[in-house]
Structure formats: C-alpha cells, structure tokens
Amino acid sequence: MSEELYEDAIVALARAAHGAGKPAGEGNSATIDNPLCGDRVTVEVTLADGRIKALSHNVKGCLLCKASASMLGLHAPGASRDAIAANAAALDAMLKTGDAPAYGSWPELALFLPVSRHKSRFDCVRLPLQAAAKALGETP
C-alpha cells in the first residue's frame, strides 16, 4: 500500500470524473459544504424500485473530493441505498482506524487509505458520500 496521498490511480480516478455533471433537476438533490475549506458538493439521485437509477454530482473541491465523487458515480447506478450507506461507513472506519476497508467495499476505497493519516482531509473524501446520503433522504 502506498504511503502517498496522490497516487496515480487516485489522480486518474478524479480525472475520469464518473458521474460528473450539473444536476438536471430530475431527481433528489442535496448540497453539502465543507465548512473548513468552503468546498461544495451537489449530488442528484434518481431512484427506481428502491435502487439508484442514476446519480450525478457537481464538485467544487479538491482532487480527493473529486476522486471520491468519481468513485461514487462509478458504483452508485444500480446500487441500493444500503450499499451507499455501507460504503460510507466503511470509509469512515478506514479513515479512523487506518486499516484496510471492510471486505466487499468498493475497490477504489482502498485508494483513500493514506488519507487516514491526514485528519484535515477526511471531509474532502467524505463529502460526496454524505451528499449522496442526504439526497437519499438520510440524515448525513
């Protein structure tokens, strides 16, 4: 496991920008600010049969935040609410403990493991998942 925050894979994930796009206003959308740095993430989700049909996000933020949103955009379509919540919980646990993410999590989660040593950056990675939870009607 790399010690470095900005592995090539994370830079590539951010650049891939899966799911990036202005909210079309067709689903439930939610915006969360990072109170520390003024960054802002908007996520819009459309549900069908209790699963996520589509998800788009608009990120004004750092590379870590963009990479995290891209990971969300990659995996959200077709996922259940529970899957989003489980991965958000796995992320929180990984950041807090510094241990590898729980088995069965999205594979890209592991890319963020080095962030666990940088408390000031936790929120950068969390923000997209929190916005998704909020859009899904959960208390973030």
Binding site: L36, C37, H118, K119, S120
Partner: protein, 408 residues
Amino acid sequence: MRFDPDKLRSEFPILSTHPGGRPLHYLDNAATAQLPRAVLDAVSRHETESRANVARGVHILAERASMAYEDARGAMARYLNAASPDEIAFTQGTTAAINIAAQGLGAGFKPGDEVVLSELEHHSNIVPWQLLRDRTGIVLRVLPVTDDGRIDLSALDRVLTKRCKLVALAHASNVTGAVTDVARVVEAARAVGARVLLDGAQAVPHGPIDVQALGIDLYALSGHKMFAPNGIGVLWGRQEVLAQMPPVFGGGGMIRHVTFDATTYADPPKRFEPGTPPIAQAVGLGAAARWIEALDRESVVAHELRLTGRMLNGLAGIAGTRIIGPTGLQARRGVVSFALEGVHPHDLCQWVNDRFGVALRGGHHCAEPLMRRFGLDGTSRASLAPYNTDADIDALLEGVADARRHLA
C-alpha cells in the same frame, strides 16, 4: 499508594524556589494555582514541535496543532462529563465565558425577565449581567448570604419568580469556600422554567465535575486556577442551549460564509471561538485535566480537608480572628477567609509574606457585595492545593499570631 504531598510538591518547580530568600508557602491557590511539570512540558513540547495555526491548514504542523487542540477539547469534555466535545467552547477564562453566556443568552431575554444571582458572587458573575441589564432591561435579583457565608437557599422560593430565566451562581465561593447545593438550585430553577449557570472557577481545581449529573445548563471555568496556563477557560453548555445562542464576538473561524450583506455562522462550539484561539494554552489545560484525573481523589480530598480543619482551628486559637465563611468542614473547599481585628488585610498579608514566606491574598477578592454583607472592606484569604502541607499551615498560623503581636 498513599498520597504524598511532598512528592507532589516536587512536580512543581516553583515550589522549591526561595522567593525573597525564604521557602515558599503558597496559599494563594484560589487566585492562581501553580503549574506541574506535566503541564509545563506539554505546553513547551507543543510550542517546539507542533506550533501552527489550527483549522484549514494541511501541513504537518497545522495537522498536529489542530489535533492537539481538539484533543484538549476532548479532555475537557471528559473532565466535565459533557455529552460531546461540541459542548466545550474554549474562552480566555471564566470571565470571558460568563460574558459570552450573558450576551448569548441575553439575545433571547425580554425587558422584565429576571436573572438571579447571589450576594457572594465574584464580580465576574455580577458585572456581565449588569452590562446586559443596562442594554436590555432585564431585572437582577439577588439571593442573600447566611451568617456563615453560604448562599441562603431558603430564599429561593421568594427570589425565584415565573419571570426568572436564569439562575447564575458560584459553584464554590472564592471568599468563604462554601460549596453551593446545586441540586436544590436546579430543582427550584426547573420549577419556574429557568436555566442554571454555574461559575465553576473555584470548583474545578478540586476534581472532575459531572455537569450532566448536576443537571445544569451552562458551566464556566478558568484554566489558571486548575494548574493550567493563563489565558484559557471553558464555557460548557448543553448542545441545545449553545445552539440557541447567537455569536457574541465575530471573526475568522466562527463563520460558515461571509459576504458584506449577510454572514452565516458556524455551529457551536466554533461559533464562540472567533479568531485564533489560545491553542498552546488549551493543550496545557488538557494536560492539567489529565494530571488532576490521575491524582487519587479521595486522598487529596481528605488531605485538603485535614489541612482546612487545622487552619480553621489554628485561626480560632488566635485572639481577634474572625472566620468569614463556614467554620466547619461540611460542604466547603479549602478556601479560608478571615479578619484580624485591628490589622488591615494588606498589612497582614505583607507581614506573613515578608517574615514567613507565606503567600496569602488580601482585599475584597472581587466580591465587594459580600464584603459589605459582612461589614468589611476586605479579608485575608488562605487557599489550598493538593501540594500544600502541614508546614504551610504552621507558617501561616505562626505568621498571623506574629502579625497580631506587632500590628494589632
């Protein structure tokens, strides 16, 4: 392990100095307590290894400083048994904490609303409410003080009315040492729907507090009286109470967004921490809380009570002395005020300092209304910390007797 005050003393560099060429008998702990190595080292380590501004910084020193600052918040949350670290706002001290509470709560008060204080309050728990009164037209009502220097809680029924919004009292008196019966105050306040704020400046040095068990709403304290540096204190408030309070001072760090038209504010506790906070001092306060927690509480209490008894008995044996406060050991701290007939407190304090190396405090102790209650301009006050010993009390008693012989 038996509690050993002499071993404890050795943790305090200043206690082995000889100011003025005499061993130091420091009995001015209610004014400011001394610093143990653990606190001195925590602060200096912070300043030489982790010093940076907090929040928003991603470099390694900024990360360390932010973590140290939030860690101190956690330590104080534990010390007070707060429901969450978010209930701990760092302030400059008790005085700042009470002023913030007064202006913050005051925004919700209407003319005619009542705040109840007592006659034994420190000026820092009087003047902020007077400034608020001048601005908003609230009414201050005052609980009297009994002959033995306690807040007269039998007057609660009479003084607390339906218009009472807040009861703000000392948890322990800095003059008489009396400890307030908080349960009774809380019960009376709840009966009229009022909140309760405690001025904990003189209570916190004597061990952890359980604000939840006390059932109160707000608590104020100072670091420098609990073995921590100057310039740091805490305003604790229940989350929903702090959440209702608007900001008092504005600046960096307490905002959500700023435009010239409209600014939005951060949630508590940040809302009450504008500007760069006293970071290293908070680190010192956290270290002090841990240092106190590590003491054997029961032994320390027993030790201080024994010394208090020795002091009270000894003073009673010197003709012309009068204790201002409880003469027994129930519900009191090791803070003993007394008058010596015919001798001005400053002359007494100077005498015992110059000839016996005893550090007392003389004067009105920022409690003029209480002095008036007892018909005095001031008292002499001896106040204990765990590091005090029989030798300190002996020097005090010898000094007072000597002052009487020469000055009375």
